[in-house]
Symmetry: C2
Subunit: 195 residues, 2 copies
DNA sequence: TAAAAAATTGACTTGACATTCAAAAATTGA
DNA sequence: TCAATTTTTGAATGTCAAGTCAATTTTTTA
């Protein structure tokens, strides 16, 4: 990758970061291209130099979050831990990450309202890959005798639901740090699969 | 209530029902007033005779769903059941209802994107009332020795998260009826509070 | 340093949709 | 029946924000 290509990539990244901040405040439809641009001291015209349009910009940010989520799982997976510790670690990371990237995760709730068919296909593929990681971990835990789950996809979706909903209510528990909060929630969600 | 008032009320109800169907398909921002009107073989002008505007219309439908949800809890509560059976019954009902009124529940995910401050206040009040029902049931179960929960608000939010997320993935389990599906999910979510 | 390439600007176009409203139609009740 | 009232209509209005683009500025590179 040439210097200039890297520069462009970095700029795109900056725009995505900025977009996520504004989106977190105002949501997809409440955010205008001008809002995103102003936050970066740019004008909206420039944004179209880097992205095809609003939909594309938000799509890219969504993809980045999903890929990062999968990376997060991998980083826990390569540690030397029991399957129970691994799953707990993955859950904790997911919660912490989702609270830091609140906007991106809020957009996940209604993707069909925002994205095109093609985009949805890609998003769903990544989601499936992410879900598969959980299925593996649960399976391993069952084999190890730590978990008791008859229907892994259902248990996994129940688990992911509990995890994804935290963006809706974290602020209510205002006093807690993200880390302490994540640990607390992890304890209760782990019960879904434990023996 | 006079005859004419009742007629108007009924018409409003019909509009709300119709709106929920269209909203379930296209989401809030993807639905135009014309869509809602056409679905009823009306023109959009008439809608403004019954509702102040789009926001008001959707707000009313949201309120109706929340009130109905609270009614659902009450109907289970007055049955002669153990606290464990009561909570399981309430969860099952919630899931079944949320899948039938999918749109209304999807709108719950990002209320701040849609409603005004005043409207949000009312929605949050009803949500709190609903949450309080769960807290009571969990508390009773703890006292009866069926549940083990140290932090009731957190456990309850984890529970509600798992429940509310089902609108996102029910269709994946296509073969199951709503009832069978609800029972399955109830079993796993109950683990969050059980001893 | 000067030509070429990349990046930025902001005024302009465009389309979509919520909302309004005066006129028309339908319903009611005396 | 017919006047009063309620309800519906659809054309007109207004707003808002996405997306475009020719001109300009900045940066690169040779």
């Amino acid at each position: 990758m040439s210097l200039m290509e890297r520069k462009t990539a970095e700029k795109k990244n900056k725009i995505l970061n900025s977009a996520l901040i504004v989106l977190a405040e105002k949501g997809y439809h409440g955010t205008t291209m001008e809002d995103i641009a102003n936050h970066l001291l740019m004008t909206k015209g420039s944004l179209y130099y880097y992205f095809k349009g609003k939909q594309d910009l938000v799509f890219q940010s969504q993809i980045r979050i999903l890929k990062q989520s999968i990376e997060n799982v991998k980083s826990v997976n390569q540690q030397e831990l029991t399957s129970e510790e691994k799953l707990a670690g993955v859950i904790r990371k997911h919660i912490e990450y989702s609270l830091r990237e609140k906007a991106g995760f809020l957009l996940m709730a209604n993707p069909t309202e925002i994205f095109s068919e093609t985009q949805l296909t890609e998003i769903y593929h990544l989601r499936e890959a992410y879900a598969a990681c959980y299925d593996e971990l649960i399976e391993a835990g069952v084999k190890a005798g730590d978990f008791k789950v008859e229907n892994i996809p259902v248990a996994r979706n129940v688990l992911l639901g509990a995890m994804n909903w935290v963006t809706q209510w974290y602020s209510e528990e205002g006093a807690l740090s993200i880390e302490a909060f994540a640990q607390l929630v992890t304890d209760y969600t782990m019960r879904i699969v434990k023996k």
